[in-house]
Symmetry: C2
Subunit: 134 residues, 2 copies
DNA sequence: TCTTGACTTCAAGTATACTTGAAGTGTTAG
DNA sequence: CTAACACTTCAAGTATACTTGAAGTCAAGA
């Protein structure tokens, strides 16, 4: 099993050490071992956990729910239905977010086209397009 | 031009009135007119603005940048390049978010499959699958 | 050995985006 | 006409997710 210092962790994930200590403090991390001089030693388990946290974070799962998730995962026999429900709900939520995100992207691209047309019109002195033209 | 009370606005967008007042306070809204008794009157311009704010918000554009955007849009001849840059950057950012979101969705779907396999194994008393099986 | 820098704890501070409360004015149904 | 409720302002409070600072310990090179 590989081990990592806090420096290696922060460099691997490009996050401040304070964030790693914070995640530990709020109980998002499995127990972190220490050297004889009290410095943190992380393992591959922490690497996996941090990947999961980042995935959940990017997809908008609040930390309180991540906390529940990791608790369920540590006691699967009692919480198999809870964890499945949570993940299926989150899956639906992400799909919903992606659909909205696609629509929002369409709107932004429409704006890009519109303002580029205006720029062209400004440079050539032709009349301004209206927004509906896009 | 249609007009709307604060009640109509909050029902149309399903947001609290306080949010509408807040957006106005921080300058995200065009001037809001009042009745003789000082109550706010919104117009279609505010409807459009609120749609834009929601689109920007969902795609992670901070309010400070929305503020700049609306300022640029009100003075296009000076800021046509700024507004195009901002929208093209935001477009790239959204595309990047969508790619990550798709990967994150894959991970979540993998978890859903994995925990469902475990549930089946639990019910049938067969050995637990390992995570790599998914 | 000294000094520079990294680590530690713990408490307090910050950023973003609102939300709530108090105190007052206006509006409407019975 | 009064009760109940919606609106107003302004200041202060809240939630989430960290970040920073102070004070101290530890480590490694000149």
């Amino acid at each position: 099993m590989n081990t990592y210092t806090i420096k290696e962790m922060r460099e691997k994930f490009d996050i401040p050490s304070s964030t790693l200590r914070y995640y530990e403090e709020i109980g998002l991390f499995p127990e972190v071992m220490r050297t004889e001089t009290n410095q943190r030693i992380y393992t591959d388990e922490h690497i996996d956990r941090l990947h999961a946290i980042n995935c959940f974070k990017r997809t908008g799962l609040p930390m309180a729910k991540m906390h529940d998730f990791f608790e369920y995962a540590e006691n699967l026999p009692c919480h198999i239905d809870d964890i499945i429900d949570m993940m299926e709900d989150h899956e639906k939520d992400i799909i919903c977010q992606m659909e909205k995100m696609q629509q929002d992207l369409d709107h932004i691209q429409q704006k890009v086209r519109y303002y580029n047309k205006i720029k062209t019109a400004m440079e050539q002195g032709t009349p301004w397009p209206c927004f509906e033209d896009c």
